[in-house]
Symmetry: D2
Subunit: 151 residues, 4 copies
């Protein structure tokens, strides 16, 4: 479904961009899988990312899902461009109550301007996985803007 990446530097650019996201460090997120059109991001369920019941906050689940989809899409974009999230929709289906939460972003429709991704989020507890959220996301390829440009 996903062809070869247009940018030979696809893996390094994803890893470098992720490393520059202060927000990902703040919640303890790590890249656990990077392939063409596929990126997984995971976190541990520490108190710093919990909501009032002790589950991982739905907004934090959204953060790692948004980044997993965004980088899955970015891996397929041409050199010299950056990525913006246009919109996403997330259904929270089961509590994020595992020791570890992983968001798996996959490109569904790679387009020149717009890229559509789906992200499945799993809660991992004692070795078994439970599907806790799903996201559909639209990304924009911003041509002619470097990914390391600062505001």
């Amino acid at each position: 479904m996903v062809n070869a990446p247009a940018d030979p530097n696809w893996e390094a650019k994803v890893r470098n961009s992720f490393a520059r996201q202060g927000a990902m460090a703040t919640i303890g997120a790590r890249l656990s899988h990077v392939a063409p059109g596929e990126v997984d991001i995971e976190i541990d369920r520490t108190p710093a990312v919990q909501q009032q019941h002790g589950y991982v906050h739905g907004g934090v689940v959204g953060m790692i899902a948004d980044s997993a989809g965004g980088y899955a899409g970015f891996s397929m974009m041409p050199a010299g461009s950056t990525v913006l999230t246009v919109e996403y929709k997330m259904n929270l289906m089961n509590p994020a109550d595992g020791a570890r939460i992983v968001a798996r972003g996959r490109v569904v429709k790679p387009g020149r301007t717009l890229v559509v991704c789906q992200v499945d989020v799993y809660s991992i507890k004692e070795g078994s996985e439970r599907h806790c959220a799903l996201m559909t996301q639209t990304l924009l390829t911003v041509a002619g803007k470097s990914d390391d440009l600062q505001v």
Copy 2:
């Protein structure tokens, strides 16, 4: 559009629940407005919440928007119940590049089981506001489950 809250303790329960969310403390979020069916949450654009270009991370915008809508809805729910986000959809329309970002959650449709909220997010820079994101959110009233129950 929004009637009187069913729970006379509505304000305290919102403030107490927010205070128990480790994830909100982690990103430096604060409650800046609490009224029946209306909650605003804001953050400063510090490096801890930024993405690679220095804007506030879209996922962090989603976190404060999700909480603002969630607490707007929770303020209208009966005593002895808690709130779950069923799903939300967010459009990111302008970069979150202000010094301060505020998410304003409002109940659109208060129902017994389901509550629909809209959240508008503004980027505030040198006193002027720019509409940077909008969210539509579906919440579930979970009856018979205390909001301070721990996982």
Copy 3:
């Protein structure tokens, strides 16, 4: 992922309910697959369902997708209940330009109150299929209300 239907009459109730939807007849939609948690609905690309470029109207794609997901969910609901769509989100990824358009609804998360479905829509042209839209949908089980109650 999907267990046995709670209602032994699941297939007949889906077919009967579909037959009572005037809107489905109006656009020429037909049920092409009915299984527990799975419903496909298809239409032909006639002028009556086209938009200005001659593709099937995005709203018509939404109609068959909404019904395919709704009936997939309804097939799993207990006897004596009916189904309401709470919300859905659809991405239109490729033009619906085939001779035939099929929407395949599948239950992703069967819950007692809420059911989450995903629907994939394909455009079929000279025997080959193209993924043209995807929908994520939240349904509500309305207990104690017959599906054939009239307004």
Copy 4:
């Protein structure tokens, strides 16, 4: 919020495009308001557009909402371009049980490439209006493609 339309022919192009949508005629939809960045579309609740309970089918509500938003956006697009719906999300909040259903589409964020609209749908019964659905929609400006091009 919405500036002057870029295309002096904005009103005629909206009306002409609507008139070419067979799907709108099929469900008896009519344009009831056309202004820069604003389009209303309405239908009567006839059997041809109903679901099993006699309400207007959620998919038909989605059709008129999608078109209302799409034409609100199209009214602001430059000459020589056409419009595509990228995605939309709709919450169905109250039954569409009025004699007449009207969808009011408004441009929220007019961009060069992407346009974001919100659409509010009202059910009108004996002169009073009830908010029955809301949609948020992302549109794509397709430059260099005439709106009356046929597939």
